[in-house]
């Protein structure tokens, strides 16, 4: 997209609101939806990768040493990773105002 969404005028839109740039959903910041944020404790983590498998938004990355990192650009704070983690290595805290 040539411009950020909030700067686009009606003249900037394609006829019929057609998206002619495949794959541009990746620039959509679903992290804006989050009301709770995941906190990761690497000491409790057993590197099983279950959180990575369950995350519906592919918002968890597995690092070289097997530990994980949340991608807060996409993470909606659904809490599925925390729910599924067998050791309680992920907890959710409220986002501050």
């Amino acid at each position: 997209m040539a411009k950020p969404e909030h700067e686009m005028t009606w003249r900037d839109l394609n006829v019929g609101y057609v998206v002619d740039e495949p794959g541009n959903a990746r620039i959509y910041r679903t992290g804006d939806w989050r009301s709770q944020r995941p906190i990761y404790n690497p000491e409790r983590c057993i590197r099983c990768g279950i959180c990575y498998i369950y995350c519906p938004d592919m918002a968890i990355r597995i690092l070289a040493d097997g530990s994980i990192e949340h991608d807060l650009y996409y993470c909606k704070g659904c809490g599925i990773c925390a729910e599924e983690c067998p050791t309680g290595a992920i907890t959710l805290v409220d986002e501050e105002e």
């Binding site: 686009m8 005028t9 009606w10 006829v15 019929g16 609101y17 057609v18 998206v19 002619d20 495949p22």
Partner: protein, 387 residues
């Protein structure tokens, strides 16, 4: 030379769809549209029309197929009436918002309940704001001609908006009229192959119908409204070129005996022909009565309409649909809105007539005009109802 033949209007409409070299026909049968689709299925079956005839299981599917067909770049046709239109209406709105050109012939019929297969305009008025270009045909020739005009306008790169041709169920669909058929070579000159701007194709993927977040939805709707408002010169151009090729010139509003008229009757569709008989009778008795027929319903021809009724003291609007609890019929609402900004405007009296197949005669028009003369500008009255 163009041939003039006696033909049922539905058959003529189907022949026009064939001559327009339509690629996809998707429709579900419903009275009184049936003959159009039946004849098209014969034309495809006997090889006269090289098109995909898709016999869908509902009108919702018919319009979905049409949207998909137009999205891949096919010239697409559907045809329906009444409940069928209401069932397909979800996708009708999507087709125009996606700016997918296609043609729909709508054989106007009343809506349930009570169940009625007969004519009025309540079906199209229920989707008035659907974003399609909409015309009302007065006779069979106009239906036949507007298949070509409709595709030509809809597929124009400056328009890219679907097109509805309204014709009155039974009153037009099932009558035999003399139709001047256009030679194929002339049709081909007028209607070049459809060249889509965006289309679904695996070589160059695009997304149609994605979601619009609040930060963009308003802009998307503004773009659609602007596009519709800018269709008028292209519609006029298409009519002009059609006239140059066939000798039949069409306009957004047609006037009949409006010169010096103090009273002007406003109609849509086949009512215009009946009204003109009543009005000619009154003219013979030195009554200054004229007729304005609204051919183009969306976009509404505000300027042309104001010009057409200029000088009138009384405008009598004939509606073939009710807006329950509203300010009268849908046409009267538009007429009043068109005239309100004028410094001095005529009194507008509104009659609802011809509901669910109730006959309207030239004498009814004479009677309504006489009543309107002494009526205050009331909202509306249903004419001919038994008290």
């Amino acid at each position: 030379m163009a041939k003039r033949v006696g033909m049922e209007v539905s058959i003529a409409a189907a022949e026009a769809v064939k001559q327009a070299n339509t690629d996809i026909v998707a429709a579900y049968p419903i009275t009184p549209q049936t003959h159009i689709v039946e004849h098209l299925s014969e034309l495809v079956n006997n090889g006269e029309l090289d098109a995909e005839f898709i016999p869908v299981e509902s009108e919702h599917s018919a319009m979905s197929v049409c949207a998909g067909g137009a999205a891949v770049g096919a010239r697409t046709f559907t045809c329906t009436s009444s409940q069928g239109l209401i069932l397909m209406s979800e996708i009708v709105y999507a087709a125009s918002s996606l700016r997918l050109p296609m043609l729909m012939i709508l054989a106007n019929r009343s809506l349930n309940s009570p169940l009625s297969i007969w004519n009025d305009h309540s079906d199209v008025m229920a989707i008035r704001d659907c974003g399609w270009i909409q015309v009302f045909a007065d006779n069979g020739q106009e239906v036949y001609d507007h298949v070509f005009v409709g595709y030509r306008v809809a597929e124009d790169r400056n328009v890219l908006t679907p097109f509805i041709v309204n014709l009155d169920g039974f009153i037009l669909t099932h009558v035999i009229e003399p139709i001047e058929m256009i030679e194929q070579e002339v049709v081909d000159r007028y209607l070049p192959p459809y060249q889509p701007l965006h289309r679904l194709h695996p070589d160059r993927p695009v997304t149609m119908g994605c979601f619009g977040p609040p930060i963009l939805f308003t802009e998307a709707k503004k773009a659609q409204d602007e596009a519709m408002n800018k269709t008028m010169p292209h519609i006029l151009q298409a009519w002009q070129e059609f006239g140059d090729l066939t000798g039949r010139y069409y306009h957004p509003v047609e006037t009949h005996e409006t010169e010096g008229a103090k009273i002007i009757v406003v109609t849509q569709g086949a009512l215009g022909e009946t009204a003109s008989v009543g009005i000619e009778h009154m003219r013979e008795h030195n009554e200054a009565v004229g007729l304005v027929k609204i051919r183009l319903w969306r976009p509404f021809p505000f300027d042309e309409f104001r010009k057409a009724v200029k000088g009138a003291e009384l405008v009598v609007v004939m509606d073939r649909a009710i807006s329950y609890g509203g300010p009268g019929g849908p046409l009267a609402g538009e007429v009043r809105a068109a005239l309100y900004p004028e410094e001095s405007h005529p009194r507008v009296v509104n009659f609802i007539i011809g509901l669910g197949g109730r006959d309207v005669s030239p004498g009814d028009f004479v009677e309504m005009i006489q009543q309107a003369k002494v009526k205050p500008g009331e909202w509306y009255e249903i004419h001919g109802v038994r008290e």
